[in-house]
Symmetry: C3
Subunit: 317 residues, 3 copies
């Protein structure tokens, strides 16, 4: 593996999950692996879980960590080739990526979708520019279209909590006041397609995800139908893909309630967080024993640690 930009970087997903669970048993077992190695984390957007869990993961491996909020602490970057830089942007990605690569051994980047220009978002301009011009491995800490550290943590969590060989996993859209990206949903769907699960996607009409990702999967537009006998309910809001970045509905009838959860097979509730209570999911569900959102967030550390450990492999003799 050269980079961890998408879950396609994972060769044997079940083996990865097993390795991550091994790391969780003793997070410091490889603490000399990262000695003299530095992770540089560049944030173009806010972050809580990713910021802290990735940092913790690196430290567990004995790495040094440098964290930089690009917008406020550095220079505005230009990503277009051939542009005449006579306005606000002070540095080109060509220099920035090549230079930063010299100060660290692994580079982790968060750069959200604009939600205004689908083509540009799908081109993954920031992430792919770093990939192109950096000389060290890149880790995606959520890009315009993918959040593969989250998806790996999700798969680990489902493995930990599943009670049947092939659980029913429902990905349910839920209402939100703001337009949100598709990254988490995209990576979750791709990850579930690699797992032995019965994946059902439910959302209002108009909220169909990128068909290149959902492929031939049919959508269950009736949320209650979808929830029936579910072992896991994975909740997430996203904006429209077709009507790119638009909020078509804030219909509260799509909020996740205890009543709906009772349709499931004592199903576990998952969400990547942050979650808006009583808008996306009601208190009673988040506060119930079936919510595993905190355990899911905990697995972010071990997902990141496994990815960093694998990328450090290139530096081993």
């Amino acid at each position: 593996m050269k980079h961890y930009l998408d879950i396609t970087a994972i060769d044997h997903v079940q083996s990865w999950i097993d390795q991550a669970l091994q790391l969780k048993v003793d997070p410091f077992q490889f603490e000399s692996l990262g000695k003299k190695r530095t992770l540089c984390m560049l944030f173009f957007n806010p972050s809580l879980r990713t910021r802290l869990s990735t940092q913790k993961a690196a430290m567990n491996l004995g790495m040094q960590v440098m964290v930089m909020n690009f917008g406020s602490e550095g220079w505005q970057l230009e990503f277009e080739d051939g542009s005449i830089m006579d306005a606000g942007k002070a540095e080109h990605i060509k220099e920035a990526a090549a230079v930063v690569s010299q100060y660290c051994d692994i580079l982790a980047i968060r750069a959200f979708a604009s939600l205004t220009d689908r083509e540009q978002d799908e081109a993954e301009l920031v992430l792919n520019s770093f990939k192109k011009y950096a000389t060290v491995p890149i880790v995606n800490m959520e890009s315009a279209t993918a959040h593969p550290l989250q998806a790996l943590a999700d798969a680990i969590t489902i493995t930990e909590f599943k009670k049947v060989e092939r659980p029913k996993v429902v990905l349910s859209w839920a209402p939100h006041p703001k337009a949100l990206p598709h990254a988490v949903a995209n990576s979750f769907v791709k990850m579930m397609q690699l797992q032995n699960v019965n994946l059902v996607i439910t959302h209002p009409e108009g909220y169909e995800l990128d068909p290149a990702i959902t492929k031939d999967m049919s959508v269950e537009y009736d949320q209650q139908n979808a929830f029936k006998d579910a072992d896991f309910v994975y909740v997430k809001n996203w904006s429209s893909y077709k009507n790119y970045g638009k909020v078509l509905s804030k219909d509260k009838n799509w909020m996740i309630t205890q009543q709906k959860m009772q349709l499931t097979n004592n199903g576990k509730l998952m969400h990547c967080l942050p979650v808006r209570r009583n808008m996306v999911i009601e208190d009673a569900v988040l506060d119930s024993d079936n919510s595993i959102v905190i355990e899911q967030a905990n697995n972010r550390t071990f997902a990141a640690q496994l990815v960093l450990k694998k990328l450090l492999g290139r530096y081993e003799n």
Copy 2:
């Protein structure tokens, strides 16, 4: 000790002071105690001394440190139970505290008073919410009503500099252009009540501190009378408590001057810093040999280090 939220967490104050002074002699004597342990510092407000001294204290103990400015780097938090989160706040404290607890071993938090709503400030919403939902020890890096790391450093400093068994310690209000919280004054008064000192409080009428803290202490409204024969003058501005958060006076006659210091028993000047020169205290006093504000700030490291060391105790075998 489960948390360090207030100085009531201190069991034997004189023993703590002695231990802190022992740490000061050789700050690295416990440098293996914090190995594999992580301190996460969350700031909801600016900080210089607390930010750097607490970080240094943790590193002296061999800990890893993660620093996060919550406002700019993360998500806006909701603290109210049962609220419908359909506006600006993206994450509830319930999730944030539980999640962050999983990425660290000790959580330190700075969250100032609003000074607009006394009841809310006294409820210590931020600090107590973290206490309620976090699963690791919490350290108060200045909350709405208390600054116990500062008060411990103050007590250490007085022990170092006192020349008599029972020194006279004057807490003097001084003018300031802005409305300031009561946290430092509160914790100082509580700490002095535990010490063998003659504590005298002086301030203009209307600036009485919370009577639940000052208890039956009388106030000396004549500053010059208060200063007579003082061994220590502890200077601090605060806004009105009764007329909550209001600036009732900027009377320059209350500024600390050399002339007033000459009324003391060659008294030492203390201030928690930052201090506005020639507004709160005149240059001549701050620049005199009797100012110990820099030494006092130095003790912040050892106060924090002792608190962290004690909290790390729970992880020892």
Copy 3:
């Protein structure tokens, strides 16, 4: 050496360059030198290279690092003696510098020129105030008039790439949309004066640098003439010194092009970065094999590491 404020702190420049190149061969050879030592980096301005390379340099030496963005994370500082601090500034440099000195072993500071008041910029108020009131060594991470870490990296880079005993080095002004400081150009000129090079400075009339720095050097106002047979072309924009801080020209004819580079002796292109492409230097030049701007940025780590190593010397037994 007590501080590293300017390149005048360097005693034997060639020996420093040799030592830095030795560090580059094995950056971790002194990794126990900085154990229990802390570098505190204070930024009053944005930074990418300096932020990351200096941090990396310190970690290579085994030091702990604390990074603080003064403006957003701390208090606004007052630098004037005797001022009445009744407005926005909460803390005086006297306290800030003395206090921070107690939490670290070396203090590094970035504080750019105002470009509005030449006298004040030349007084180096921020840097010199820290020097005056701090009790630990100070490292200049670019001040109003000097960038000595950059100049040391520049000298290292020229030593690495030069093919003749006494190369011709051209410092060329180039156009830029904004008014930029003189710090980089100043330190580069001073550094070249210490080297066995033929230094030629070229810029439009009105852009003469501080004569106290350029001394009796004549200026070549014809850029193409200047470029003839150059072994190195060092590109930098700066605002007018005489007409202090003003942009007198954005003349695109001064942009660095391949055509101009062909006048050189297969000359290497240098720039401190960030660089605005197709405004300061055209793509073809930056993307050519003769551009060594990335290698130059890499040497920032070893320049900083050497400076820190020398300053740590004071703590050795």
